[in-house]
């Protein structure tokens, strides 16, 4: 992943500034999803087709950590990866809403 040229200037100015937590956690969620998809031996295109998406670009968007798995297709996403839906949602909640996850389920390791 690269940043635009003009952003390098801002990045230099903001050197040392921590990556916002939400963004970082979304990236971790994306890495986890990518690994689970690989375990299920599916390509991004395969998964997109099974979820009824015309293109696989959204799968990439999510796995690169820029978007979340929408709630509406979370169940189907879990099923296609061969993961129990509630476990899948619970695990993603740990990244997407860590405080809510902590309140609901207590502290857990990622």
């Amino acid at each position: 992943m690269k940043r635009g040229k003009h952003q390098d200037v801002f990045a230099e100015r903001a050197a040392g500034k921590a990556v916002p937590e939400a963004k970082q956690l979304r990236k971790l969620a994306g890495d986890w999803l990518k690994q689970r998809r690989a375990d299920a031996e599916l390509s991004q295109a395969d998964l997109a087709a099974r979820l009824g998406l015309k293109y696989y670009t959204f799968i990439s968007q999510v796995e690169n950590g820029f978007s979340r798995v929408p709630t509406e297709i979370m169940g189907a996403w879990a099923s296609e990866l061969g993961i129990e839906q509630s476990a899948f949602a619970r695990h993603l909640l740990m990244y997407y809403e860590p405080e809510l996850h902590r309140l609901l389920f207590g502290a857990e390791t990622k």
Binding site: G4, Y55, F58, Q61, F66, S67
Partner: protein, 147 residues
């Protein structure tokens, strides 16, 4: 007359300077300083390039995504909804511009304008109002005496 069939140049690989300029020009208002928006690029597992328009802090979630697959440009929102697709990037960029959530930016402009007008009104009109009030206070007893 014989026609030589030229092979169409495949538009693959990294974003070109021209492509990025086209997208950024269309999104210049959306990415203007003060909006808090940023942009990043990435790729799919097949190496197709993607451009992400990110919202402001703290979430910085993707608001729009432009991808190029085999010379075709795909415009999606942050929820994966397909908004537009075409081979012409200029057209896609126009749709991207229209799709950017701009309410907050308009709201900021409207509030700034309102504050400026209000401040100007207070500066100009307040002395007049105070003067009028003083005159009124002076004349009321006299008018009351006449009554």
């Amino acid at each position: 007359m014989s026609v030589v069939a030229f092979e169409r140049k495949q538009n693959t690989g990294e974003w070109s300077e021209r492509e990025l300029s086209t997208i950024l020009a269309a999104l210049s208002a959306a990415t203007a300083p003060g909006t808090g928006r940023e942009w990043e690029t990435g790729t799919t597992e097949k190496g197709d390039v993607q451009f992400y328009l990110l919202g402001s802090l703290p979430d910085q979630a993707c608001e729009l995504c432009v991808s190029r697959i085999g010379g075709r440009y795909i415009l999606e929102d942050g929820l994966g909804r397909l908004l537009f697709e075409h081979r012409n990037l200029d057209l896609v960029a126009l749709h991207a511009k229209a799709a950017v959530p701009s309410t907050s930016w308009l709201m900021v402009r409207a509030i700034t304008l309102w504050c400026a007008v209000r401040s100007a009104f207070h500066e100009k009109a307040e002395p007049w109002l105070v003067e009028g009030e003083e005159l009124f206070v002076q004349f009321v007893p006299q008018l009351a005496a006449f009554a």
